[in-house]
């Protein structure tokens, strides 16, 4: 079931398929599109294919069939061009432990093609993601997971790319940080970013996402605008899909 | 409980992928070193045999006992297969003659510098460098690695006494690593047997002791690795520290100790000693010449017809005996010089090795060399043996010379001009009762004392490191 939303897609999967060398079918003809100003949330168990999809958008692996497109650019054909248009935050942000937060930001901003930032820019973006000022010039060595996650998000913001990929960005964050993150996503959406995130957090997905997809065994088994799921018990729905019900049965 | 812990440790080692790789390589290197040792030993034996044969032949070709000389050879020993030590650095033979004291000359390395470029590899080298590295490699993350992987807190959420845990870790790792090493060493011995190396019972005893001390050395490095792992929180740090400690112990301290001792205790060079000896010899010969002149003068004055041929021969014989007396004098002086030299050398050596023994690697190498009889004592032993042989040989030659003097007679006369007389008798030399050089044998009793010191040191280092690991682990923050 495709959703018809006006405007060109920023992130787009077209019958995206990945079969690994050991024969495992990780992604099976998956199609979806994320437009500017949209947040697309993928729900699913471990091994459902969420990370594989993100890896395909980053061209870390090549698709067996189909295409992943960023701003219309096919990622496995022109990976460098495509990746200039996307920022990425991983599940467990790992940075250089011997560098300070600012040094890490500076390095990755430069890799992202942004060379003009000043110290103040780094300071303000770190404050924006909620990292207190006394930590800015400390080495990453002693940072907690939440602090590192904030740095990762800051790096993504600094890249200022039209598309953002988030791989379980809130796992391991405390409730307050989770809430702050949610606000951040809202503001990024208003800036017009197209955001693709994978998550286990059903409740937050429901609150923040524009479109929610449930994946199981490499397939999207449900893909609905969040507005249409407003009144439904998403958790019950999720459990049903996981149990192998078809979309029709579940929605009914 | 203890059994479970030991079993787990054993399994962890035996199932790790690095285990198969490293032990394959270790076994290969040990066998390679023994293979090389055997073929080098065989080559040395061949060289020794031909050398001796050629020297005998040359001896038989000589025509007079007056200037007779021969060579004494250093005999290769099967133990050099395992520990070459100074075998290739010391001269292989010494010239035995009446003029100069015997010195070992012509070392294998100086004859064929190509072998000196990279040097030989022997079992002791593989044990010192490779096995020690291996020991550290398997233990450096014993404690901190478990903490990092999160298993340590889990283990201690159970009622496990820390002391037992550490002991089990040590014992498990020890069994897991030592058994394969022992197997490899046994294979090496099998190779020696198959190659038909003539090993006596004593050789086997020495080999057995060598293997034991190798294991002791291996253990000491294992425990040091364990100690470091209990001192550090992260395995990357303990790895770095272990590597630095390894470099220092194996590569730096042994050398630095000797160099430092060389600076602290000065020993005169052989050239200086030779110079002093030559100066003494020259003075004595000058004196001799003066004596001779006056003797000649007296004789001419006393008996007018003393210039007959018969009288000249007697005169020559007196000269000869005087000359011999002076040679004895010079030898005594030289012996004194060398005695003094060797005393100072002993002091230097003792200091050098005491400093080096801070490192278990030095203690091991010294113990291995002394077990194999290829340590510094090898030189001393041969020098003493050669001195004794030379005295025998010279006595023999002198006795024979009296029986059949050789030499030339040169006569000047106004009526016959100058002419040279050939020796009186010129027959094949009868060498049946000539003394032969018996290579000195190192008594195993003599090595025991030094061996005990080194073995004791290795045990001490192991115990200290284990005690350190113990104390560190008791206060280890397992989180």
């Amino acid at each position: 079931m495709m959703l018809e939303v006006p405007g060109a897609a920023m992130l787009e999967a077209v019958t995206l398929t990945k079969r690994y060398e050991d024969g495992v079918l990780a992604l099976d003809h998956v199609s979806f599109a994320v437009k500017p100003g949209q947040i697309f949330a993928m729900l699913g168990a471990n091994g459902a294919g969420k990370t594989t999809a993100i890896n395909l958008f980053l061209n870390f692996i090549e698709p067996t069939d189909g295409e992943a497109r960023i701003d219309g650019i096919v990622t496995h054909k022109e990976p460098l061009l495509a990746k200039q248009r996307v920022a990425y935050v991983s599940e467990n942000v790992m940075l250089y432990p011997n560098f300070t937060a600012v040094q890490n930001l500076d390095y990755f901003a430069r890799l992202g093609g942004k060379t003009g930032y000043t110290k103040d820019d780094y300071r303000s973006v770190l404050l924006r993601v909620g990292l207190s000022e006394d930590a800015h010039n400390k080495r990453l060595k002693g940072f907690s997971k939440g602090m590192r996650q904030k740095c990762g998000i800051a790096i993504a913001i600094l890249k200022d790319a039209p598309a953002i990929l988030l791989d379980e960005p809130t796992s391991g964050l405390d409730p307050k940080a989770g809430f702050e993150f949610q606000q951040l996503l809202d503001s990024l959406r208003t800036e017009g970013k197209a955001i693709l995130m994978s998550t286990h957090d059903i409740f937050r997905a429901k609150e923040v996402a524009d479109i929610i997809a449930i994946m199981n065994n490499g397939r999207i088994v449900m893909q609905e605008p969040a507005s249409r799921l407003l009144g439904q018990d998403l958790e019950r729905l999720y459990m049903q899909y996981m149990a192998g019900h078809t979309a029709a049965e579940a929605v009914a | 409980m203890f059994g479970i812990l030991v079993q787990k440790e054993l399994k962890a080692i035996l199932l790790s992928p690095k285990f198969a790789v490293t032990f394959g390589i270790c076994a290969f290197l040990l066998l390679l070193s023994v293979f090389i040792g055997i073929s080098e030993y065989n080559a040395s034996v061949k060289q020794y045999d031909t050398g001796k044969q050629l020297a005998d032949q040359q001896l038989r070709e000589q025509s007079s006992f007056r200037m007779i000389q021969t060579k004494a050879f250093r005999r290769p020993d099967p133990m050099q297969i395992f520990v070459s030590g100074l075998t290739y650095d010391l001269g292989r033979w010494a010239g035995i003659n009446q003029i100069s004291s015997p010195r070992l000359r012509s070392s294998a390395y100086s004859e064929d510098p190509i072998f000196a470029v990279f040097r030989f590899v022997d079992l002791a080298f593989v044990v010192t460098v490779v096995l020690s590295l291996l020991a550290v490699l398997f233990t450096y993350d014993a404690v901190c690695g478990e903490r990092e992987s999160g298993t340590l807190p889990l283990v201690f959420s159970n009622a496990v006494p820390r002391a037992q845990y550490l002991l089990a870790k040590g014992i498990g790792a020890w069994i897991g690593l030592v058994v394969p090493v022992v197997l490899a060493l046994l294979l090496c011995m099998l190779m020696v047997i198959l190659a038909g190396v003539p090993m006596t019972g004593e050789h086997w005893l020495r080999t057995g002791l060598l293997m034991l001390i190798s294991l002791l050395f291996f253990t000491s490095f294992m425990v040091i690795g364990l100690f470091i792992s209990a001192l550090t929180r992260r395995s990357s740090v303990s790895f770095l520290v272990s590597l630095v400690v390894w470099v220092a112990f194996v590569l730096i301290i042994p050398r630095a100790g000797v160099i430092a001792a060389g600076q602290i205790v000065r020993v005169p060079s052989v050239a200086e000693i030779q110079g002093q000896r030559d100066a003494f010899a020259r003075d004595r010969w000058n004196l001799f010449r003066q004596d001779l002149d006056s003797l000649f003068e007296n004789r001419r004055g006393a008996e007018p017809d003393s210039m007959t041929e018969e009288a000249m021969w007697t005169h020559m014989q007196t000269q000869d005996s005087m000359r011999r007396a002076i040679e004895l004098d010079i030898n005594a002086f030289e012996a004194k010089l060398y005695e003094d030299l060797s005393r100072r050398r002993n002091v230097q050596e003792r200091l050098a090795f005491s400093l080096s023994r801070v490192s278990p690697a030095s203690a091991f190498q010294l113990a291995a060399m002394s077990l194999a009889g290829t340590d510094l004592d090898l030189k001393r032993r041969y020098e003493d043996g050669l001195m004794i042989f030379r005295t025998q040989f010279v006595d023999y030659a002198n006795k024979k010379t009296e029986d059949s003097p050789g030499g030339f007679q040169i006569s000047f006369s106004s009526d016959k001009g100058m002419s040279i007389g050939t020796p009186r008798s010129k027959a094949q030399l009868d060498l049946t009762d000539m003394p032969t050089f018996v290579p000195p044998v190192q008594q195993i009793g003599a090595t025991v004392e030094g061996l005990l010191v080194d073995a004791g040191l290795l045990t001490l280092y192991s115990l200290l490191a284990f005690a350190g690991a113990f104390v560190a682990f008791l206060r280890y923050d397992v989180r």
């Binding site: 980053l58 990976p79 460098l80 990746k83 990425y88 991983s90 790992m94 250089y96 011997n98 990755f108 430069r110 890799l111 992202g112 990762g152 | 690095k18 790789v21 050629l54 070709e61 000589q62 030590g85 100074l86 650095d89 010391l90 012509s106 100086s110 004859e111 510098p113 190509i114 072998f115 000196a116 470029v117 990279f118 590899v121 460098v129 590295l133 520290v241 590569l251 042994p254 100790g257 000797v258 160099i259 060389g262 600076q263 060079s269 050239a271 200086e272 110079g275 230097q348 030095s362 190498q365 510094l376 030189k379 030339f408 006369s413 106004s414 001009g417 100058m418 002419s419 040279i420 007389g421």
Partner: protein
């Protein structure tokens, strides 16, 4: 972009505690090497001077050049030999010059001071080969696999970052981060020599610079090798294990094993065989000359002439000299043939040995540096040639002084019975001094250039290998 990566790489390496500890240790060892090298040189120099002085002193008071019996010359120590010992401690240094015949140097450092042979010296060559190569591995083994494990590789490649740029930046950055500090330590170390009063000539500085260059190329080869291995492995533990095995093989095993292998494959006649063949010819020639000697006779003094033993002796000595010359010529011819044959076989052996050994950068490094320091295995030959040249000069000098070359074994002197005038003492300083000339720079360089090139080639090879390995690396 490339610059950013290079900068980051340098900062990452230099800022790590790993670098601080390991480089600190290495820098201390480098300085220690230069200090012990300088001290060692000064000790050797003092010993050398003492031996030379002793040699002259023993001639003092002699009244006749004939009485000079044991004239020894010595291989002088070289300041660079304390840094790159090569075989300089293994070959004989003392040569007794007689005037004729073959010369054999005796008394190597290790044979005379075996206490040093037990653990050997700590020199720069050793430090580079064993310790600095380990340092290079330590800094490079996790270049790629470590970033992967840390997760930073994923983040980096979420950007439009070409792989070639990344690996290039890594290689250049880590190279600079290792080489520049090393160079600094080595430069400071080099200054220790003049500070401790060990003079280096202009050419020596050039040699030292080239030795250091060879060292840096060698370390660079190990660094690029480490990066290459890390670009082929997924986990740092496996890349380190692979590198350790390679290190043991390249540094400790291959060079030694290849020489031994070549030694087994090419048979070189032993020195004993040669010596005995020579000795046999010598005694045979001596025997022949003995008959000749017994036939020697000077005409009796003519009536009316004085009985002049001096004149007779002169005739006799000339006769003996000519015999010795003839013997020497035959011996030289025979010995030369034997030596040449052995030298040819040795050369074949050596060529084979070094061809195999050069599989390892460690062997190339040892060969290049010892050639540059003038302490490679040609030193033995070079020194012998020089002593032979000197012997000729010495023989000429003695002939001038005494009319005879003393190297003919038997010299008969007639002592003046007239004690009225005291005989004049000889002046030992008149004797030609042995001036050892180390191998010419061009010659050393010629021998080193191949290995220098080979080291550069290793760098290039591993460099390309890293790039190719990384282009297909799974960055996930």
């Amino acid at each position: 972009m490339l610059r950013t990566i290079i900068e980051k790489e340098i900062r990452d390496i230099i800022g790590s505690s790993k670098f601080a500890i390991s480089f600190g240790v290495c820098a201390a060892l480098i300085l220690l090497c230069f200090v012990t090298g300088a001290v060692n040189y000064k000790t050797s120099q003092a010993q050398y001077e003492a031996a030379k002085a002793e040699n002259l002193r023993q001639m003092e008071g002699l009244t006749d050049w004939f009485s000079v019996q044991q004239h020894r010359i010595f291989l002088p120590p070289h300041p660079l030999a304390s840094l790159v010992s090569g075989v300089s401690n293994d070959i004989g240094r003392t040569t007794e010059v007689r005037g004729r015949g073959e010369l054999n140097a005796d008394g190597s450092r290790y044979a005379e001071d075996p206490v040093y042979a037990v653990f050997r010296f700590l020199d720069l060559e050793f430090l580079f080969q064993v310790v600095l190569s380990l340092l290079a591995i330590l800094l490079g083994y996790d270049a790629i696999s470590g970033e992967k494990e840390r997760g930073t590789l994923r983040l980096s490649f979420s950007n439009g970052l070409p792989r070639a740029t990344y690996i290039l930046g890594k290689l250049i950055g880590s190279f600079l981060a290792l080489i520049v500090p090393l160079l600094l330590a080595l430069a400071i170390g080099s200054l220790i020599y003049p500070i401790l009063g060990v003079p280096l000539s202009g050419i020596d500085w050039l040699r030292l610079a080239l030795i250091i260059l060879a060292g840096l190329l060698f370390v660079g080869a190990f660094l690029t090798l480490s990066v290459m291995v890390s670009a082929f492995t997924q986990r740092t533990s496996s890349s380190f294990l692979v590198l350790l095995v390679v290190w043991i093989g390249a540094v400790l095993i291959i060079p030694r094993a290849s020489v031994l292998l070549a030694g087994r494959m090419v048979d070189v006649p032993s020195v004993d065989e040669l010596a005995s063949q020579k000795a046999r010819l010598a005694s045979q020639l001596m025997e022949e000359d003995r008959t000749r000697m017994s036939e020697f006779n000077t005409p009796p003094a003519a009536p009316g002439e004085d009985f002049e033993p001096d004149k007779m002796l002169k005739l006799f000595n000339t006769f003996m000299d000519s015999l010795a010359d003839a013997r020497d010529k035959q011996m030289a011819e025979f010995g030369g043939r034997l030596n040449e044959d052995r030298a040819n076989k040795q050369q074949a052996q050596e060529r084979l040995a070094f061809s195999i050994a050069r599989v390892s950068p460690s062997a190339s490094f040892a060969l290049a540096t010892s050639a540059l320091a003038g302490t490679d295995m040609f030193l033995k030959e070079h020194y012998r040639d020089q002593t032979m040249d000197y012997q000729q000069e010495y023989g000429k000098f003695m002939k001038e002084k005494t009319g005879l070359n003393p190297g003919g074994r038997m010299v008969i002197m007639l002592r003046d019975d007239n004690e009225n005038e005291k005989p004049k003492e000889i002046d030992p300083s008149e004797m030609p001094a042995f001036k050892y000339a180390p191998p010419a720079f061009a010659e050393s360089f010629g021998r080193a250039i191949f290995d220098l090139g080979l080291l550069a080639f290793f760098n290039l090879l591993f460099f390309t290998g890293s790039v190719f390995g990384f282009l297909r690396y799974d960055v996930r």
